[in-house]
């Protein structure tokens, strides 16, 4: 089958679904972060595919900004995880229940 826009969008949707499944299913903060990266990458793939098939380079500029913001987000998030681990000795969401009633 010819690889057109629909095939690229299907891959992007499947990647997004896998990332969402990881965020909901896994209980380790680091793996949850990696699943978030998968979801961002799925959005990037959809943007690049639309940009290629609609002949509009603005989508690729948006992907460039998304990659930059994702790098900043990962650095801040990992610093938060390290600070949390120092205080609680755990990077597992089920151990972080101090805001529970």
């Amino acid at each position: 089958m010819h690889a057109g826009l629909e095939q690229y969008l299907a891959v992007s949707f499947a990647l997004f679904a896998l990332g969402l499944l990881g965020v909901i299913m896994r209980r380790n903060l680091l793996v949850i972060y990696m699943s978030l990266e998968l979801m961002l990458n799925a959005a990037n793939l959809a943007l690049v595919a639309f940009s290629r098939f609609k002949d509009n380079l603005n989508g690729q500029i948006l992907v460039f900004f998304i990659i930059t913001v994702a790098a900043a987000e990962v650095s801040v998030g990992l610093a938060l995880i390290v600070a949390l681990y120092r205080r609680r000795q755990s990077a597992h969401v089920e151990d972080l229940t101090s805001m529970k009633l």
Binding site: V11, M25, N41, A71, V74, L78
Partner: protein, 168 residues
């Protein structure tokens, strides 16, 4: 079916299978394994970007994600001693909630994909070389470019502040 179509299916299968191994590896719960499969996912996605003629973004994807983000992940994984985490099992209700919500969102995606007429714009034309993107970035998008550099500076200061030893 040309060579680019075959390459598309190869890279798509590699991306999706490696992404599945990132979130649930049947052989190992170790976060290091997840990070390594995330590298494979990123690299095969860069292959998909090349197939879409987005050469600059493919290079940036490998440099920034595989070169910086994954290294940061590995540093943090090795900084935190996560041996106890590796033995924890996936909870059943977590899996059930995940499958239900992901099934719902996939159903919405599939329905929209089938009902949208995409054939009208199915002629690949755009070329994402460095020259075209650079001209666009430094002419039309020069203000967002500067703002994003300030964002990176803020993130750097925040990370240094957060990871100090005695942050009261």
């Amino acid at each position: 079916m040309g060579i680019s179509d075959i390459l598309f299916y190869v890279f798509a299968a590699m991306t999706l299978s490696c992404a599945a191994l990132v979130i649930a590896n049947p052989f190992s719960r170790n976060p290091v394994t997840s990070a390594m499969f995330l590298v494979l996912t990123i690299v095969s996605m860069a292959g998909l970007f090349v197939l879409l003629h987005a050469f600059f973004l493919a290079a940036v994807q490998i440099l920034v994600y595989a070169g910086a983000v994954i290294v940061l992940f590995l540093f943090v994984i090795m900084l935190l001693d996560l041996k106890a985490e590796a033995r924890r099992k996936i909870k059943f209700y977590g899996l059930a909630a995940g499958v239900i919500s992901v099934g719902a969102i996939v159903a919405i995606f599939a329905r929209n994909l089938r009902s949208t007429p995409l054939h009208a714009l199915a002629s690949p034309t755009a070329q994402g070389g460095t020259t075209a993107l650079g001209l666009l970035l430094f002419r039309q998008y020069v203000l967002p470019f500067e703002v994003i550099s300030v964002l990176l500076l803020v993130a750097m200061v925040g990370v240094i502040l957060l990871s100090r030893k005695d942050s009261k």
